[in-house]
C-alpha cells in the first residue's frame, strides 16, 4: 500500500432514517469508489423498487435479512480512498441495538460522524450516540446535519441544531474544537464532496475536505510506551541459535535500542538490545509497530507479560473498577466469573459489585443489580492475578478489556478502566 497515503478510521452513527447509508453511499460515489458493476446493481435495485433516484444505501446494506427488512443489523466495514487518504468506515446501525454496535465500531475509530435529520433536530438518539463517542474518547466528532434539502437549506434550522448540540458538548469531556458541524444533503450531494451552492451561508469545508485535513497523529494522543508480549520467537536454527525475540505491537510511545526496561509482572529490569522488523534491525519504533525485541539479559518473559520503560510503570492491581458496556444477551450479575482479556493477557475475574447503571443521555446514573445487553454501568472486579493497566483516559489499548463467558466463550462485555 502506498506509504504516502494516511489512514483515517471513522465510525458513523445515526438513527433509523437519518440517511446514514445514503451518506456513505454518496461518499463512495463521489470519491469514485463505486465500480460500474456496483452502480449498475444499485440502478437495477432502485428501479425494481420503483425509486426515481439512486438509492445509495444499497451500496452498504449487506445481508439478505437486512435487505428484506430494510435495516442494518451489524457493523459493516466500508473502504474508500482519495489521492491523499485511505478511509475505513465502521457503519453502525441506528436501531435499538445501537449501543453494542456503536461501541464496537467506535472502538477502532478515531473519528465519529453523528448524523442528525435536519427536520427532527437533536433527539434522544443523538444524546446516546454522542454519549458513546464521549465514553470511548473519540478524538474528533463531525456532526452532519442531513436532509437540509427538506428544510429549504435554511440556516436558522442549522443554527438551532448546532446550539442544541453545543449544550450536549458542555456536558461532555469534549472541547469545542473537537466538534465540527456541517450542513449536508447526502441524497443531493450538497457539502459532501461538492461545496453547496444552495447553502452559501456555510463557509466551512465539505465533509470530504474536512475528513481529508484530519491528521492521524493528532487523532492518536501520545502516551507512554506499552509493549505487551504476544508471541516469543525462537528460531532454534544454526544462524539464530540464541535468538529470543519478544514480538508484539507497540502502543502509546516510542521504544528504542538501549532503553532501560522493566518487565511485568516480574519487575525484573533489562535493556533493549535490538528491535527487529522482519529482516531489518531498527533503532527505534513508533507506536503501532508490530516488532520483535531482544533484551540484553536472559529474562523470564512470555505471552501476556508486558515490557515498559523503567520509570513509566503502569498500575498493577488485583481489584479494578471499570465502566462496562454489555455487548451480549447474557446479563452481567454480581458474583459471576469471567475470563478477562486485557490486550493479549487473560486472567479470571469475578464481579464484586455493580455500582450503577449509567444513563446514556447525560442524565446521571441509577442503582443496578445486573447489566443487560446495551447497558452501560460501573462495576468492581476482583481478579485472579494482577493486570498491568493504565486508565482508559491515558492509554486506550492498555485501559480497556473484554469479558469472555466462561462456558460459552462469547465476548460478553467491554470494559474501560478508570
Amino acid at each position: 500500500m502506498s506509504e504516502n497515503r494516511k489512514l483515517i478510521k471513522i465510525a458513523t452513527a445515526g438513527s433509523v432514517d437519518d440517511g446514514k447509508s445514503t451518506l456513505i453511499g454518496r461518499l463512495l460515489y463521489d470519491t469514485k469508489s463505486l465500480t460500474t458493476d456496483k452502480i449498475e446493481a444499485i440502478e437495477r435495485s432502485s428501479k425494481q423498487r420503483g425509486y426515481d433516484y439512486l438509492d445509495f444505501s444499497l451500496a452498504t446494506d449487506g445481508l439478505v435479512a437486512e435487505r428484506e427488512q430494510g435495516i442494518t443489523i451489524d457493523v459493516a466495514h466500508i473502504y474508500f480512498n482519495t489521492a491523499k487518504t485511505n478511509f475505513i468506515v465502521a457503519d453502525t446501525p441506528g436501531h435499538v441495538e445501537y449501543t453494542r454496535n456503536m461501541v464496537t465500531g467506535a472502538s477502532t475509530s478515531q473519528v465519529a460522524i453523528i448524523l442528525i435529520d435536519a427536520r427532527k433536530g437533536v433527539i434522544e438518539q443523538t444524546y446516546r450516540h454522542f454519549f458513546i463517542a464521549n465514553l470511548l474518547r473519540i478524538s474528533h466528532v463531525v456532526v452532519a446535519i442531513n436532509k437540509m434539502d427538506l428544510v429549504n437549506y435554511d440556516e436558522e434550522v442549522y443554527l438551532k441544531i448546532k446550539a442544541d448540540f453545543d449544550e450536549l458538548v458542555a456536558k461532555s469531556d469534549f472541547s469545542e474544537d473537537q466538534i465540527t458541524f456541517i450542513p449536508v444533503s447526502a441524497l443531493k450531494g450538497e457539502n459532501i464532496a461538492r461545496q453547496s451552492e444552495e447553502m452559501p451561508w456555510y463557509v466551512g469545508n465539505t465533509l470530504l475536505d474536512h475528513l481529508e485535513v484530519l491528521e492521524p497523529a493528532d487523532l492518536e494522543p501520545s502516551s507512554v510506551a506499552r509493549f505487551p508480549v504476544q508471541y516469543v520467537i525462537r528460531p532454534k536454527t544454526e544462524a539464530w541459535h540464541d535468538f529470543r525475540g519478544f514480538s508484539g505491537m507497540l502502543y502509546g510511545g516510542n521504544l528504542k535500542v538501549g532503553d532501560e526496561v522493566t518487565l511485568l509482572p516480574s519487575l525484573n529490569t533489562s535493556k533493549i538490545k535490538s528491535i527487529h522488523y522482519f529482516d531489518q534491525e531498527i533503532q527505534e519504533a513508533a507506536p503501532g509497530s508490530s516488532i520483535a525485541i531482544t533484551l540484553e539479559t536472559e529474562v523470564d518473559l512470555s505471552r501476556g507479560d508486558m515490557l515498559v520503560k523503567s520509570g513509566e510503570l503502569p498500575s498493577s492491581e488485583k481489584q479494578i473498577s471499570a465502566t462496562i458496556c454489555q455487548v451480549n444477551n447474557k446479563a452481567l450479575t454480581v458474583g459471576k466469573k469471567y475470563i478477562l482479556q486485557h490486550g493479549v493477557n487473560r486472567v479470571l475475574a469475578k464481579v464484586d459489585q455493580i455500582e450503577s447503571r449509567i444513563h446514556t443521555d447525560f442524565t446521571g446514573a441509577e442503582d443496578a443489580h445486573s447489566l443487560k445487553l446495551n447497558d452501560i454501568g460501573r462495576v468492581h472486579f476482583r481478579l485472579s492475578k494482577p493486570i498491568h493497566f493504565d486508565s482508559y483516559k491515558s492509554n486506550k489499548s492498555n485501559g480497556s478489556f473484554i469479558l469472555i463467558d466462561e462456558a460459552e466463550y462469547d465476548t460478553v462485555s467491554v470494559g474501560f478502566i478508570e
Binding site: 500500500m1 449487506g62 466500508i78 504476544q230 536454527t237 528491535i275 519504533a285 513508533a286 467491554v414
Partner: protein, 299 residues
C-alpha cells in the same frame, strides 16, 4: 541500521492478527490458493515470525481446474521458504461420492471445495484456518469478523458473531468448532497490489498480460480449455489478457489488458471501474451468492 520505524498501519495490524492466531490456537493452517491475497498472507506471516519459520502449514484445496502457472508458482514458493504444504483434491471428494460434479454451461468446482476443505479440517484437526478474504470484496464479507467462529459444519451464523473491540481477538472455542481468521480484512484490492509492488513480491505470471485462447460469454472473457464448458457457437479467439483474481479456471474471468509490469497493473487497478468480484462468475449467480456459500462453510 535504519533509524525510526513508522509503521504501515494495515501491515502492522495484519502481523498482529497472524501472531494472535499462532498464539491462541493449537493447529492453525494457512489456506493457500496461489492467488495474490494468499501470497500476501505468506509474506505477512514471514514478517510475523522472522527469523523463525512460519509455524503452520499451508493447505491448498485443489479443484483440479487450477491454472498450471499457479500450481508451478505454489510449489516454487513452498520450496524457497521451506514451508509445509498440504494438498487435498476436490477430485477425491467427487470420487468418494461426497459431492457431485456440476454439468453444463456455468459448471464449476468452486463451491465443491467446501466439502474438501471441511474434510481436511477434520482430518488434520485444524482449529484455525487463515484466509485472505477482504471486507471490501463483497457485501457479506463486509460484516465478517477477523476471527470468525464456525461450528462443526463450518457454518457461519451472521446473527451470532462475537463483537470485536479494539484489537482484542477472542479465539476461545469448544471442541469441534474452528475459527476462520482473516488478517487482511481491512485491506482493499488496491492495498494488496500496492503492497505487492512496494515489497516486490513475486506473483504468478497469469496476473500479467499474456496471450491466451479465450471466448466471450455474458460480457466476460473465459479461458478456453477442456475444463471450461463451451458451446459450439462460442468461438475461441487469441487475445492479450490478464487475471485480476485467480481461482478455479471455471469461475475466473480474464480482462483485456496490456499490463506487463506491476506498475502497469497498479495503474490499471487505480483506473478500474469494474470490481474484482465482477470478474468472478460464481458471484454473478445471484446477489446473495457469497452469503449463501458462507453459511454452508465456504471459506
Amino acid at each position: 541500521m535504519s533509524n525510526l520505524l513508522i509503521p504501515n498501519p494495515k501491515e502492522a495490524e495484519s502481523i498482529h492478527i497472524i501472531r494472535e492466531v499462532a498464539a491462541q490456537f493449537e493447529r492453525p493452517v494457512l489456506l493457500f490458493s496461489g492467488g495474490k491475497d494468499s501470497i500476501t498472507l505468506v509474506r505477512l506471516a514471514q514478517k510475523a515470525f522472522y527469523p523463525a519459520k512460519i509455524p503452520f502449514p499451508l493447505l491448498h484445496v485443489d479443484t483440479g481446474h487450477n491454472f498450471p502457472e499457479t500450481i508451478e508458482f505454489r510449489d516454487k514458493l513452498v520450496e524457497e521458504l521451506g514451508l509445509e504444504l498440504i494438498v487435498r483434491n476436490v477430485q477425491d471428494s467427487i470420487d468418494q461420492g461426497k459431492v457431485r460434479e456440476e454439468r453444463g454451461r456455468y459448471s464449476s468446482r468452486n463451491s465443491l471445495q467446501t466439502t474438501t476443505l471441511l474434510d481436511a479440517i477434520e482430518e488434520f484437526k485444524f482449529d484455525a484456518c487463515i484466509g485472505g478474504a477482504r471486507r471490501d470484496e463483497e457485501k457479506a464479507r463486509a460484516k465478517e469478523r477477523v476471527f470468525s467462529v464456525r461450528d462443526d459444519f463450518g457454518q457461519w451464523d451472521e446473527k451470532n458473531q462475537r463483537p470485536e473491540l479494539f484489537d482484542m481477538l477472542n479465539g476461545k472455542i469448544h471442541v469441534g468448532q474452528n475459527v476462520r481468521c482473516f488478517p487482511i480484512s481491512n485491506w482493499t484490492e488496491l492495498d494488496v497490489w500496492e503492497y505487492i509492488k512496494t515489497e516486490n513480491i513475486e506473483i504468478p505470471s497469469i496476473y500479467f498480460a499474456h496471450e491466451r485462447e479465450v471466448f466471450f460469454r455474458d460480457g466476460m472473457i473465459w479461458t478456453a480449455n477442456e475444463h471450461v464448458y463451451r458451446e459450439a457457437h462460442e468461438e475461441v479467439e487469441l487475445r492479450m489478457v490478464r487475471f485480476r483474481t485467480v481461482g478455479d479456471m471455471t469461475c475466473t474471468a480474464a480482462v483485456l489488458s496490456e499490463a506487463v509490469s506491476l506498475d502497469d497493473v497498479v495503474g490499471e487497478i487505480r483506473e478500474s471501474t469494474i470490481s474484482e468480484r465482477g470478474a468472478r462468475i460464481d458471484d454473478k449467480r445471484s446477489e446473495a451468492a457469497m452469503e449463501t456459500r458462507k453459511k454452508v462453510g465456504y471459506f
